[in-house]
C-alpha cells in the first residue's frame, strides 16, 4: 500500500509513453499509405479534446454514475499529454504558418500549459496551507477579516482615551488601516516571502519603545490581530490561486474548441475538390 501514488504515477506515465510511441510509429507507417494522415490525426485530436472537455461536464453532473472524479482527472492528465503527441503528428511537428492556425496552436499550448501548471500548483499548495495552519473556509475569510478589523480599530480608538495619547491610533491609521481593510501582500504570500510581515513587525517593535506598559499590552493585542490577519491573507492568497487558475484553463478550453470547430469547417470547406478523389 505504501507509495501507492508513486506506483500509480510511474505505471500511468509508462503506459502513456508506450501509447505515445506507438502513435508516432503508427503515424510514420501509415503516412505513405494514407493520402491525408492529417485528417485522421485531426479527427482523433478533436475526439481527444472533447474527451478532455467532458471532465468538466462530469464535474457538473455528480449525481450521474459516471465514475469517480479522481479517475477522470488521472485520465484527463495522461490523455492530455497524449493530445500533445497527436497534435505534433497532426501538424507535422512544426509551428503552423497562417495566423489562424498559429492562434489555434497557441491557444492549445496555453490551455495545456495552464493545465500542467494548475496540476503542479494543486499538488504543492495544499501542503503549504496545511503546514501554515489556521485552516479557514474561503467564503468565511471576508467575515473573519472584518471581525479582526473591528477589534483592532476598537483597541486603537480606546487607547486614545485610556492613555491620553494618539500614538497607537496614529500608528493604526498610518500603517495598519489599509492592511486590515482588504487582502494584502497577495504575491508575497504566493511566493512565500515574509518581507512585508517583517516590515510590519519592525514597525510594531519601533513603536513599542515609546509606550508605557499598559499601552504596550494594547499594542501587543493589535499585533496579535495583525498576525492573525496575515495568516488569513496567506489562506486567501493560496486558496484563491487554487481556484483562479481554472478561470484561465476552462474558458480558454472553450475558446480552443470554438476555434477548432471553425478550423474543421474551414479545412473541409477548402478541401473540396482538392483533397478527396474517389
Amino acid at each position: 500500500m505504501k507509495n501507492a501514488f508513486v506506483v500509480r504515477r510511474v505505471s500511468s506515465g509508462l503506459v502513456t509513453l508506450v501509447v505515445a510511441a506507438a502513435l508516432v510509429v503508427l503515424a510514420r507507417r501509415l503516412a505513405p499509405q494514407l493520402r491525408n494522415l492529417s485528417y485522421l490525426s485531426g479527427w482523433l485530436l478533436l475526439a481527444v479534446m472533447l474527451f478532455l472537455t467532458a471532465y468538466n461536464a462530469r464535474k457538473k453532473l455528480p449525481f450521474l454514475p459516471l465514475g469517480k472524479s479522481r479517475t477522470w482527472l488521472q485520465l484527463h492528465a495522461y490523455v492530455g499529454w497524449l493530445s500533445a503527441v497527436i497534435l505534433g503528428i497532426h501538424v507535422g511537428w512544426r509551428w503552423p504558418g497562417g495566423w489562424f492556425e498559429w492562434t489555434l496552436e497557441a491557444l492549445y499550448f496555453v490551455v495545456a500549459l495552464s493545465g500542467v501548471a494548475g496540476m503542479l500548483w494543486s499538488r504543492f499548495v495544499p501542503r503549504r496551507l496545511t503546514a501554515r495552519g489556521g485552516e479557514v473556509l474561503f467564503e468565511r475569510i471576508p467575515v473573519i477579516r472584518r471581525a479582526l478589523q473591528d477589534k483592532a480599530e476598537d483597541l486603537a480608538l480606546k487607547s486614545v482615551a485610556a492613555a491620553r495619547s494618539s500614538a497607537i491610533a496614529d500608528f493604526y491609521i498610518g500603517y495598519l488601516a489599509d492592511f486590515f481593510r482588504s487582502p494584502a501582500n497577495y504575491w508575497h504570500h504566493l511566493v512565500e516571502t515574509r518581507a512585508p510581515w517583517n516590515r510590519i513587525e519592525a514597525k510594531f517593535d519601533d513603536l513599542a519603545r515609546f509606550l508605557d506598559p499598559e499601552q504596550r499590552k494594547v499594542l501587543a493585542q493589535i499585533s496579535d490581530l495583525a498576525r492573525q490577519k496575515d495568516g488569513l491573507d496567506y489562506q486567501h492568497a493560496l486558496q484563491s490561486s487554487l481556484k483562479l487558475w481554472l478561470f484561465v484553463h476552462v474558458p480558454l478550453t472553450y475558446s480552443l474548441l470554438l476555434f477548432t470547430a471553425l478550423h474543421v469547417v474551414l479545412v473541409h470547406g477548402f478541401s473540396i475538390g482538392a483533397g478527396f478523389r474517389p
Partner: protein, 577 residues
C-alpha cells in the same frame, strides 16, 4: 486573591427528575406493587432511598391500544415495567418498517437519476407535501406533550405477524437500556388502559445495585436472551462444548460504566477544555493483577498507558474487543514469571462489558483454544519499564497512525464513526467539488460542512459519521431517525420528523442541522400558530443515488474518503498510500 461573587446550589443527584411532579398517591401505589413491595428498604443507602429513586427516575405512562411503546432497532435509555393492562411484543421477523413510521430509502433508477438534471427544486430545503404530513400507516397523537405513534389496523397486523402478550409485573427494554444495544423487538399497547412504569437507566442502575433479586432477575434474562449468542459469536469461545459454554456463562459478570447520555457532558467538557483521559472512569488499572478478561460488548473504551504524569492512548476498543487477554495468556504459559496488567482500560462515554474471571479462562477457555486465536506472550523488550515508547508495544495500527492522531481521534470521539468524512489536507485543494456534489444530489442542499477539527494533515469534516453508537437516536419520539435495513446507515424519515431537535442536540459532532421547511414557492411552511416547521437534516451517504457517496466520488484529488474509524487499519492504509 480571587473573590467569591455569588454562590450556587451544588448540583445533586435529584436535580432533574424524570417527571417533574410524581404524585405521592401513585408513588404509594407503586411501592405496594411487586417487585418494589418485596424490595428491602434497608438495602438502599440513606442518600438513595428506594422511594426517592422511584420518584426521581421513573414516570407512569398510559397507552391506548395500538400505541407503540418501543420500536425494534431504536436506541433507548429506559426500561419499562407493566403496571396495568398488557402489551404485545412483535416476534421475529417483526413488523415492517412502513407501519412503524419508517421509510427505507430506495436506489434511484437510471431515469430518476438523470431526471435530477431538471427536476431538482430551485428552492432550498423544499419539502414535498408528502414529507410534511405523517407517513401512511402511522399517526401522531399528542398526549400530555408526548408524541406517540400508533399502529393502524391492529387486527390485520395481528393476523399477519406473530406476537406475544406480556402482562402486569413484567419488565421489558431493560437489556437495551443497560447495554446500549438497539431494541430487539417492537412493543405496543394491547389494551386501552395499559399503564407502564418507565424507568430511566440511572434509576435502573441503582435499583440493580441495591436489590439483588432484581439484579438476579435481569441477569437471568440477559443470560437467557443475549449472552449465549454473544459468546458464540466470539471466535475464542466457539470451540467450547455446550456444557463448557454454560459454565463460562454462569461465571460471566456484566458491567456498565460511564454515563449513558455521555454526549451532553462530552460537549460541555470539550467546550471548557476539560476532557482528559485521567478523568475517565477506570475499568481495569495498569499494574493490577489481571483477574479476568474484559470483552467490550457495546460502547468504547480507551486502552491507555501511563506516560509522564498522564495517560497516553494506545488504542480504543470497540464492541467485540478484548482487554487483558494477552496478560492472562502470558501468565498461563509462564506461571513462574507472571506479570501485571500492562495497560489501563478507561471508559469513553458509556461502555458495557462482559467480564470472565482468569480462573475460568485458564481452566475452561484457554486449554482447547486454537493457538492462532491466542495472543503471543509479552517479550522482555515489551516489558522493559524504561522503554518510553508505549506505542511500540502495540505493534499494530495504533503505532501506524501515530500518537498525536490517535489522541486526536480518541479525544474527539471520532472512533464512533463507520463512515466518517476524513480529508487529507495535504491533497485537498479546497475546491469544494465535494460540497457542490452533495448539494446537487440533495436537491441543492449540502448536507455537510467541509470544516472541522484537524490533526496534522487529517481533518474530520462535520458530516454524519453513521456512528456505531448513534447517540442521536436516543430519545427520538417518533423513530424518524433510524438505521436503514440494508446497510445500517443512520437516516431520517422526513415524513415522521417532528422537528423536536433531540437528535441535533444529542449529536456530539454537530453533524445534524435543523432547517426550516419551505414550499415550492420558497415560502416557509408554518403550523397554525405560524411557527416554522423544522426538519432534521444530515448526510444520508447518498443512499438513493447509484454509485455511493457523491462527496467521495467528486473529489478529484483522492483527498476525501468516507472511512470506518472503528478500524484504524483502514485509516493507516489510507495515510500510507
Amino acid at each position: 486573591m480571587d473573590t467569591v461573587h455569588f454562590r450556587v446550589e451544588r448540583p445533586g443527584r435529584w436535580d432533574n427528575p424524570f417527571e417533574p411532579e410524581f404524585p405521592d398517591a401513585d408513588l404509594d401505589r407503586l411501592l405496594a406493587t411487586a417487585p418494589f413491595s418485596g424490595m428491602q428498604a434497608d438495602a438502599f443507602p440513606k442518600t438513595q432511598p428506594l422511594r426517592q429513586i422511584l420518584r426521581n427516575d421513573t414516570r407512569l405512562l398510559r397507552f391506548k391500544k395500538g400505541e407503540i411503546v418501543v420500536r425494534a432497532g431504536d436506541y433507548g435509555s429506559s426500561a419499562f415495567m407493566i403496571v396495568g393492562g398488557q402489551v404485545r411484543v412483535a416476534l421475529p421477523p417483526g413488523l415492517p418498517d412502513r407501519v412503524l413510521g419508517r421509510r427505507q430509502p430506495q436506489k434511484r433508477g437510471l431515469f430518476r437519476t438523470i431526471a435530477q438534471l431538471w427536476s431538482n427544486p430551485k428552492v432550498q430545503e423544499y419539502r414535498r407535501p408528502d414529507e410534511l404530513k405523517p407517513v401512511q400507516g402511522a399517526a401522531h397523537a399528542d398526549d400530555g406533550g408526548d408524541v406517540r405513534v400508533f399502529l393502524q389496523d391492529v387486527p390485520r397486523l395481528l393476523d399477519e405477524h406473530k406476537t406475544a402478550v406480556i402482562g402486569a409485573g413484567e419488565f421489558f427494554g431493560e437489556l437495551a437500556a443497560l447495554s446500549r444495544m438497539p431494541r430487539t423487538a417492537t412493543v405496543f399497547a394491547d389494551s386501552d388502559d395499559t399503564e407502564l412504569l418507565e424507568i430511566r437507566w440511572q434509576g435502573l442502575r441503582d435499583l440493580l445495585r441495591f436489590d439483588p433479586a432484581l439484579k438476579e432477575h435481569i441477569d437471568q434474562v440477559y443470560r437467557k436472551n443475549a449472552l449465549q449468542n454473544a459468546l458464540r459469536a466470539i471466535p475464542l469461545f466457539q470451540h467450547l462444548s455446550e456444557t463448557d459454554l454454560q459454565r463460562v456463562m454462569a461465571e460471566t459478570q456484566f458491567g456498565t460504566y460511564g454515563d449513558y447520555e455521555w454526549s451532553g457532558d462530552y460537549k460541555r467538557l470539550a467546550k471548557s477544555g476539560q476532557l482528559a483521559p485521567e478523568r475517565e472512569p477506570v475499568v481495569a488499572q495498569e499494574g493490577d493483577y489481571p483477574n479476568g478478561v474484559y470483552i467490550v460488548r457495546s460502547g468504547f473504551a480507551r486502552l491507555a498507558k501511563k506516560f509522564g504524569s498522564g495517560q497516553r492512548t494506545l488504542n480504543y476498543l470497540g464492541a467485540g474487543r478484548f482487554f487483558g487477554l494477552r496478560e492472562i495468556v502470558h501468565n498461563w504459559r509462564n506461571p513462574a514469571s507472571t506479570i501485571a496488567s500492562q495497560t489501563s482500560l478507561r471508559v469513553i462515554g458509556y461502555t458495557h462489558t462482559l467480564f470472565i474471571p482468569t480462573a475460568v479462562m485458564e481452566s475452561i477457555v484457554l486449554p482447547g483454544a486454537p493457538a492462532a486465536l491466542l495472543p503471543v506472550p509479552f517479550t522482555a523488550d515489551e516489558l522493559d519499564e524504561d522503554d518510553d515508547d508505549p506505542l511500540k508495544e502495540q505493534g499494530g495500527t495504533g503505532s501506524r497512525v501515530g500518537p498525536e492522531l490517535l489522541e486526536f481521534l480518541t479525544s474527539n470521539r471520532f472512533f464512533n464513526g463507520t463512515a466518517t468524512m476524513v480529508i487529507d489536507l495535504e491533497r485537498c485543494t479546497r475546491c469544494d467539488d465535494c460540497v457542490r456534489a452533495c448539494a446537487s444530489t440533495h436537491e441543492n442542499n449540502p448536507r455537510f460542512l467541509r470544516h472541522g477539527p484537524s490533526s496534522g494533515r487529517v481533518q474530520v469534516a462535520q458530516a454524519c459519521m453513521h456512528c456505531t453508537d448513534p447517540v442521536c437516536m436516543i430519545g427520538c419520539p417518533t423513530g424518524a431517525i433510524h438505521r436503514e435495513a440494508a446497510q445500517g446507515n443512520v437516516v431520517i424519515n422526513q415524513s415522521t420528523c417532528i422537528g423536536c431537535s433531540t437528535c441535533s442536540n444529542q449529536c456530539p459532532y454537530e453533524a445534524i442541522r435543523m432547517v426550516e421547511a419551505r414550499d415550492g414557492d420558497g415560502a416557509f411552511v408554518t403550523d397554525r400558530e405560524l411557527r416554522p416547521i423544522l426538519k432534521a437534516t444530515k448526510c444520508d451517504l447518498c443512499l438513493e443515488q447509484p454509485g455511493g457517496p457523491a462527496c467521495e466520488r467528486a473529489c478529484p484529488h483522492d483527498a476525501l474518503k468516507r472511512m470506518n474509524l472503528t478500524n484504524l487499519g483502514e485509516l493507516a492504509d489510507w495515510l500510507e498510500r
